[in-house]
Structure formats: structure tokens, C-alpha cells
């Protein structure tokens, strides 16, 4: 089966990022495919490469990166939600004249259409809310 997953909560502020990761991992272990993981609302913060995880706690970003590389699915961060929450790529850095970009290279900035596209192309859609 093909799964589309959306995540709505920020790491550390909600459990959504952790639950979604564990679910994605189990999905792939079971032989399913993931069409796309869409990070929306506060979950766009998952794609921030500047955060420093405390000891003992999950460093979910690097594991998302590994999982997506190994299983070839997209980690999609919603552009409208991410700009205001300070997760920007090189293009946004230049356009808004910001001193730096901070999007993790494993993540891609996309529009909301990519959420709908993932839902339309998947057998199942599941969201991890906050």
C-alpha cells in the first residue's frame, strides 16, 4: 500500500513528530511505501537544521533524513506555514534578504498542492495532529 502522512506538531512542543516517525518506520518495515511526509502547521519546525537536541531526547531530524533517503520518499515542508515560523531555504533567504537559511538539506519546501497530491495518490492518509 501507499501511505501519505501529515504531521502537525513541532518537535519538543508536541509528540506528533516522534509518533509520526515511529509510525513511518513501522510502515516501511511492513513493506508499504510512503508517498510523502507533509509537515504542516508547527511541524514545519522539524526541518530546522539549527536546533540542538538535548541529551536523552530524540534527534528526530537526522533519523527522518536517513529514513527518507533509504526509502526514497519526500520530506515536504509547507511554504506558507514555514516562512512565518522561521524555516527558510536558500531561495527564501535571498528573496526576503535574511542573513541565513536553515532548512535541513533532506527537506524540501513545497506548496499545499503537494499535500493534496499525496492524499490523492495514496491508499491511506494519516495525520499526526497537535
Amino acid at each position: 500500500m501507499k501511505f501519505a502522512i501529515s504531521v502537525h506538531g513541532a518537535p519538543f512542543s508536541s509528540s506528533a513528530a516522534h509518533s509520526a516517525y515511529r509510525f513511518a518506520e513501522a510502515t516501511l518495515d511492513a513493506g508499504h511505501k510512503i508517498a510523502r511526509v507533509f509537515f504542516y502547521h508547527d511541524a514545519v519546525r522539524t526541518g530546522d537544521s539549527l536546533s540542538v537536541a538535548p541529551q536523552e531526547e530524540n534527534t528526530v531530524i537526522d533519523r527522518w533524513a536517513e529514513l527518507s533517503e533509504k526509502h526514497e520518499f519526500e520530506l515536504a515542508v509547507c511554504i506558507a506555514a514555514s516562512l512565518k515560523r522561521g524555516v527558510i531555504n536558500d531561495e527564501a533567504r535571498d528573496r526576503y534578504e535574511k542573513p541565513a537559511a536553515n532548512l535541513h538539506p533532506a527537506f524540501t519546501i513545497v506548496g499545499l498542492g503537494q499535500l493534496i497530491d499525496a492524499i490523492a495518490g495514496a491508499d491511506r492518509f494519516i495525520s499526526f495532529g497537535a
Partner: protein, 86 residues
């Protein structure tokens, strides 16, 4: 196909139960697992790691079945749609 309801807060549980059909499945995750500590007049599933983290292992009644992530995925295979209540 029956619906899978994913409940991740205690306050959302009642809204979910109000519209869940008898043959739907209701899975409590994250803070939703606290919902299993009170009397609920239907079968519930709880996600084991979330129960364990909160120290609730001995406080979940036997009417609530504890499952792991692999069983969670199996539930998603056999249900559609999946509705999240948070």
C-alpha cells in the same frame, strides 16, 4: 470499510466517541492514553510506548488492548478513513 479513530488528547475522546460507529476502531495515542484510565463503554486500543512513558501500565483496564507500532500499521491497512482527534 470501518474507520480508524486516532485520539491524542483526553479532551478529544468524547467528540470521537460521539460519532464513532460500533465497528470502528478507536486507538488512543500520546496524551490520549489517559482516556483509558476512566470508564468508557466501548472497546479501546492504546499505544504501548505512550502508556509505558506515562507510568500507566497498571492503570489501564483489561478492556483496553495495548498494541505496538506494527499493530498500529496493520490497523491502518484494514481501516479507511483514518480520523485524528487532537
Amino acid at each position: 470499510m470501518a474507520t480508524l479513530h486516532l485520539v491524542n488528547s483526553q479532551t478529544a475522546l468524547q467528540s470521537c466517541l460521539d460519532v464513532a460507529a460500533d465497528d470502528d476502531s478507536v486507538l488512543l495515542i500520546e496524551d490520549g492514553v489517559y482516556g483509558a484510565t476512566t470508564d468508557v463503554a466501548r472497546a479501546l486500543l492504546v499505544l504501548a510506548p505512550d502508556v509505558e512513558a506515562r507510568g500507566l501500565k497498571d492503570r489501564i483496564p483489561s478492556t483496553a488492548e495495548s498494541i505496538d507500532y506494527d499493530q498500529f500499521v496493520a490497523l491502518v491497512e484494514t481501516h479507511k478513513p483514518i480520523v485524528t482527534w487532537c
